[in-house]
């Protein structure tokens, strides 16, 4: 009896050891062929740029080429849904981001994937805060000015966005709700035309990601506040919305690498380690600082918790925005 138990135990230990060895071996042989990175957006733009930024140093570290595959469609849903059906062997990765992975689950009834269960969250690349920006000739010189202006003229001010359900739209709604103001939402086809309209003074304000920074530094726009918990490294003089009494507007547009659910943990850990190492290099840190981006050296678990938190947070924001559930 005792012997039997011991032999079971031995066998079990052996099994665990072998599994561990196999896993280690897997992580050591991985990657043995080129890796595809799916970008569910057309070339150009933030997600594509993030993918191209990481793909080269990562492929150097892994010793295998990383091929970027753009599979655009339905605000990132199409490519993301296709991605979740790829084999979970670490050879197909996704450049995940705020819209498809945390916002769209609340916007689309037929998403084609489960935002939590269908993914292994590998590593956060970085997230960027958004800024409250106004045209250079705007009478408002502070967030307080703008709020007063809006309160005096309810329904008169226009805020822009890159489309219904876009991050600028949702951030705008967050801001309007927190500041208790009533303004009209004007949509543009993407961030760039919206920024052009703001520069030209056709709209009054926008909560815009750091793509607006060059306009601010060149004096085409004024940044009145940053919508995050801390001030931004790139514009340290600009106060947070919390500081000026409009609390709770935290915008973090994240970009991170994901793998299909069931990808072996050693592979996920290996990728996480390499990506974080790349992000910690002085060269990359300098670049991130310039773009006001923050990286965190998070473990896969910390990244997963962050994304899950964002998914929950945007449920209410999407509801408030009035953006319709579409199928």
């Amino acid at each position: 009896m005792e012997r039997g138990w011991r032999s079971t135990m031995q066998r079990w230990c052996l099994g665990v050891a072998m599994l561990a060895c196999a896993a280690a071996a897997l992580a050591q042989t991985y990657p043995s062929k080129p890796i595809r990175m799916i970008v569910p957006w057309p070339p150009g733009g933030g997600v594509d740029t993030a993918a191209r930024l990481i793909s080269q140093p990562l492929s150097e570290r892994l010793g295998q080429p990383i091929v970027i595959e753009n599979r655009p469609g339905v605000a990132g849903n199409l490519g993301t849904a296709q991605f979740t059906k790829e084999p979970a062997d670490g050879y197909t990765l996704l450049m995940g981001s705020l819209s498809p992975n945390a916002v769209n689950p609340h916007l689309y009834s037929k998403l084609g994937f489960d935002p939590v269960k269908d993914f292994e969250f590998v590593a956060l690349m970085y997230y960027v805060p958004s800024f409250l920006v106004v045209p250079a000739n705007s009478p408002a010189n502070s967030a307080k000015d703008l709020v007063e202006m809006a309160r005096k003229n309810p329904g008169k001010l226009n805020f822009g966005s890159g489309g219904v359900g876009s991050s600028q739209h949702l951030f705008g709604v967050m801001f309007n709700t927190a500041a208790k103001i009533d303004a009209v939402h004007v949509t543009y086809k993407g961030t760039a035309p919206a920024e052009a309209a703001l520069v030209a003074g056709q709209i009054d304000y926008m909560i815009d990601p750091p793509t607006a920074l060059p306009f601010v530094t060149s004096g085409r726009m004024k940044a009145l506040a940053v919508a995050s918990k801390q001030r931004s490294v790139s514009l340290p003089d600009v106060p947070t919305l919390d500081e000026v009494g409009i609390p709770g507007v935290y915008t973090s547009t994240f970009y991170g690498i994901m793998a299909p659910a069931g990808t072996p943990k050693p592979i996920v850990d290996r990728l996480n380690k390499e990506i974080n190492a790349i992000l910690q290099t002085p060269d990359m840190q300098a670049r991130l600082a310039k773009a006001s981006a923050q990286s965190h050296n998070w473990s896969p678990q910390e990244f997963a918790d962050f994304v899950k938190g964002e998914i929950e947070r945007y449920r209410e924001i999407v509801r408030l925005s009035g953006a319709k559930q579409v199928d």
Partner: protein, 501 residues
């Protein structure tokens, strides 16, 4: 004086052996890939972006710009040779360019396209060098109301495109507008005409439409009659442009350059509109407009110059403000970020050698393009000697893969098949497909700007008439419409019966 100093700085930066090599490489690769239908400048630039990571920033941008010019010109090549527009702006080139090819003048058409593009490119680059900042300010003054009026003007020119029945042109344009609306409404997020198909939520792809409408339908029509099949192969005469043709084409090139340089500065479709606008202008100033659609050289020279001038001046918003005016520009901005250059209004001040180097490289790129393509014309034209029974399966294959490659999705191939059938029916019923594409391109922009203008004016329709620029464009549209309709009405009175032989 400043300008000269700046240009000297630019040429100094651009004229290094390395940069010249990559400019040549870019235009070469761009031309070769651009000739493949369905793989336009955007796909080409995206694909070759990683190649440029290891290069110095200016060299990388010069190469990417070269790819852009090359791919654009490659699109015109297929438009002329096999009736297949490689991108939006060469839709117009198909109309008279392919007719010229059918008459054995493919070499002349390609030659005019190349030389017209070179001239337009050089002039437009000059415009950028001298006036980029004020032009960018001017473009910024365009609000939604102005854009709407510009689109209306564009639509009227679609009707002027038709060389057959006006009513048919109107109907085809309307259908195109409707097709452009398919997909998710950017204002409400509601999917329109998508019939629960996720792929349709992003609308119908341009590549799929052109592959179907032009390639598949044209091939089906050609296969119906033996007479049309052999048409091209048998008569090929000269490759080089003659003096009378040059005299005919040159004024068109001048006008096209002017039209393109102006329209190109407007982000979102300006450069595309320019080819259509130029064609309308040419048809209106021609002594005998009935030649158009039957191989008029001005119908190639004008639009080709306009589209290249527009392609150059569309750099203005990006260079001066960091605002991409089309997908290629968005990619270039992405490339700049990867090279650690923050695109935006600061580039001109902080990195003048980059800014002026890029402008200088536009000249270099345009010259390279012609140097490269003039010898290629002979080869392209020889391709037409391939018997049609061997040629058309190649076109079908390349278009099929091209349609797939647009989104790496077979759905686009099926859409192309549907449009092949539609295009066949339209051609059978004497309806030209070109206005459909213009409607399709303008439709979403027209609606988007109309709605935005009304949101901004809080529902006041008079904005379109109280804003001077908008009013001027609407008046121009009305005048053009009158010009188009007047002869038609007169003709109908005179020859109701003779109109249909």
């Amino acid at each position: 004086m400043d300008l000269l100093a700046n240009l000297a700085l630019g040429f100094g930066a651009a004229l290094t052996p390395l940069n010249l090599l990559y400019a040549l490489l870019g235009t070469l690769v761009g031309t070769l890939i651009g000739v493949l239908p369905g793989i336009g400048p955007v796909a080409t630039v995206a694909m070759l972006l990683p190649v440029t990571y290891g290069l110095p920033p200016l060299t990388a941008l010069i190469m990417l710009a070269g790819i852009y010019y090359g791919a654009s010109y490659g699109g015109s090549t297929t438009a002329i040779l096999v009736n297949l527009p490689g991108e939006m702006s060469s839709v117009i080139t198909v109309i008279d360019g392919h007719q010229m090819a059918r008459q054995g003048r493919a070499g002349v058409a390609l030659c005019v396209a190349a030389l017209g593009s070179l001239f337009a490119g050089c002039v437009a680059t000059m415009v950028i060098a001298a006036f980029a900042p004020p032009l960018a300010e001017f473009a910024l003054r365009f609000d939604a109301a102005e854009y709407f009026s510009l689109m209306v003007l564009g639509l009227v020119s679609a009707i002027a495109l038709a060389h057959g029945s006006l009513l048919r042109a109107v109907l085809v344009t309307l259908l195109g507008l409707l097709l452009g609306i398919v997909g998710t409404d950017p204002n409400t997020g509601i999917a329109r005409f998508s019939f629960e198909i996720p792929e349709l939520m992003d609308g119908i792809g341009f590549v799929a439409i052109t592959m179907g409408l032009f390639a598949f339908a044209e091939i089906a029509i050609n296969l119906e009659s033996a007479a049309r099949r052999g048409a091209i192969a048998e008569r090929i005469s000269r490759l080089w442009i003659g003096w009378p043709e040059f005299r005919q084409a040159f004024p068109a090139v001048l006008r096209g350059t002017a039209v393109g340089s102006i329209l190109g500065i407007f982000p979102g479709g300006g450069a595309t509109l320019s080819a259509f606008a130029s064609y309308t202008v040419e048809k209106k100033v021609a002594k005998d407009p009935s030649r158009f659609g039957k191989g008029a050289i001005e119908g190639v020279a004008g639009p080709e110059s306009a589209n290249n001038a527009g392609a150059q001046t569309s750099f203005i918003p990006m260079l001066t403000l960091g605002i991409p005016s089309n997908a290629v520009m968005a990619l270039m901005i992405g490339a700049m970020i990867i090279h650690d250059i923050q695109p935006g209004p600061d580039v001109i001040r902080k990195q003048p050698e980059l800014f002026w180097g890029l402008i200088a490289s536009m000249w270099i790129g345009n010259v390279m393009l012609v140097v490269l393509n003039l010898p290629l014309i002979g080869i392209w034209v020889r391709l037409l000697r391939v018997p049609y029974r061997l040629l058309y399966p190649v076109i079908v294959l390349v278009c099929t893969i091209g349609a797939f490659s647009a989104n790496n999705n077979m759905f686009d191939v099926w859409v192309a098949m549907a449009f092949g059938a539609l295009g066949y029916v339209l051609l059978k019923l004497d309806c030209e497909p070109a206005p459909l594409l213009l409607g399709y391109i303008l439709g979403p922009m027209l609606e988007d700007n109309l709605r935005r203008a009304l949101v901004l004016s809080r529902g006041d329709f008079t904005v379109f008439f109280t804003r001077p620029v908008s009013l001027a464009m609407l008046l121009a549209a009305a005048a053009l419409l009158a010009l188009v309709l007047a002869p038609a009405i007169r003709r109908r009175r005179d020859t109701v019966f003779a109109e249909r032989e």
